[in-house]
Subunit: 351 residues, 2 copies
Amino acid sequence: MGLHRVVEPAGVLPQAAWRLDASPEIAPNEVRIRVERLNLDAASFRQLWEKHGGDGDAVRAEVLEIVSARGKMQNPVTGSGGMLIGTVEEAGRRSPLGLRAGQRVATLVSLTLTPLTILDGLARWDGRSEQVPCDGYAILFARSIAAVLPADLDPQLSLAVLDVCGAPALTARVVSRYVAERERERADDPTPVRVAVIGGAGKSGSLSLAAARRAGAARTVGVVPVVAERDALTAVGLADAVALADARDPVALSTAVTTALGAPADVTVVCVDVPGCEHGAVLATADGGTVVFFSMATSFAAAALGAEGLAADVTMLVGNGYVPGHAEFALGLLRSESGVRALFEARLAAD
Amino acid sequence: MGLHRVVEPAGVLPQAAWRLDASPEIAPNEVRIRVERLNLDAASFRQLWEKHGGDGDAVRAEVLEIVSARGKMQNPVTGSGGMLIGTVEEAGRRSPLGLRAGQRVATLVSLTLTPLTILDGLARWDGRSEQVPCDGYAILFARSIAAVLPADLDPQLSLAVLDVCGAPALTARVVSRYVAERERERADDPTPVRVAVIGGAGKSGSLSLAAARRAGAARTVGVVPVVAERDALTAVGLADAVALADARDPVALSTAVTTALGAPADVTVVCVDVPGCEHGAVLATADGGTVVFFSMATSFAAAALGAEGLAADVTMLVGNGYVPGHAEFALGLLRSESGVRALFEARLAAD
């Protein structure tokens, strides 16, 4: 778990620590990665970008300052990090991760708990994109997770998918459970399972739409905030319906979902990284339904008190970024769903 | 939903609003309550108490200021509120709540979304307890929930139970699901379901322990931070084991739970209102298990990233304060479980 890397405060896990020891010497159960690229969490990058009014140099300076002060890239405001790709430089003899020197990998644990040292001052980054070219070192613990990058895919494409691979895996698990329950209840004519993905044109959103359909959702809707995303998501055919709504407006969101699905959603997946979407998601969900929050902008109190205040009998899940097999599942969706791939490639091209 | 009571910002639900219109004239689907007592949320009261260094007059002044500025009692720092008791003064002809003038009720929706006007300057409150004697008005919406106070119980006792009645109901639901699954897997000799309640001697904690046992948990542990609570919880026999640990220390907490249960918990219920318990709860929970967070001090990001960072395949639930039938279930536990009643009465006597 990397407890020996925690400098302060003592006794917490690395993710909760203010500062980690990022020295390059590894313990027998650790792995050292030579970093080539960081992928900042969307909420983190957006906060930095807005704070500095789009001044890339200032964004870069703050990222350098954070990593230097904390020994990891964890945005102190959003609490979030991101992930990285690089090459295995040295694997300790007792590391259980099965990695070998020379393998190109992506870390599937957050940068918020990954000891990191930057060596090049991020000289090749203009501070204007979440994708950060970087030379440096990172340390993986025994309980970390890393995926060897597949040879058949562009590494940046793989990284973008792996960054959000927990979302489609958990969406598939939740939707499958509803499908199985409905079939147990009425095997000959099960009630259809309806799924809404808020932020359906984004990375985690498009993968979640594909995952929901594969898990047996009878009808899906992707909700997006702007016309360009509506057109893009409609063109790739990943959802049965695409609706335009501001997710921060509870009445507008729930009306859009209910209209598109013909009823409130059984499963609502929140993939938009803006605060204030909790109430709309609850209101868009049927009694007995489930809301899965993947956005790091989610407020625990707003979700808990919002559902209570609406007397809404909905199950609300904190989107856990780890589900066994999540990396393979997400990469499989990218390979088999041309719509997912088209959205990811367009996004990378625009970056 | 009370949208017409939202003053600013426009378009949000009452819980998310900065300010509500708390005027006493009711719409046809509303109910006006004459308030007699507020019960502040524990996290909110603790924040105010610590901010003002235990100066009751300053705590009272700030509560008055919040209610006057916001038209509701929502602590701007914790985001939480509490609940109230009072008497129905007027029920609109289209209110679906089934209340009549003269009934003594407790609101089961949070104060964070309840329009409130204080008339007596809280003159009878010394600012030193969560229980606030208060004369004033409050408004219930069509989708609010209120429970008529039972005649056989002290109203303060009922209020204390109703304040946390979502916790035992959701705990029972989650534990029941594990018990049913285990029985489906192996009907003759199902694997026992183990439950840990962090903060087991508190209000929501003791009710959750009783609920877990009733739902079929084979072994339960209540974790408490101090010797006095350990002795109190041990004396009433609500848990199979009682363990002493600081919930903010992940290794200490998980060791305490695993030792007491003989294995990690299948269901871990977090009922302690202090920040920083997310990692310990995840670490104390078995793969495939569930953590239910009832504490308003829970950090969404710490939970999500903590589980990911530990590669922990656990389901994490945002504790929804509303489950159908929750009030009756919790009051039933109080009536039938002498241990629950003893802890509640001791707590009220100490206030």
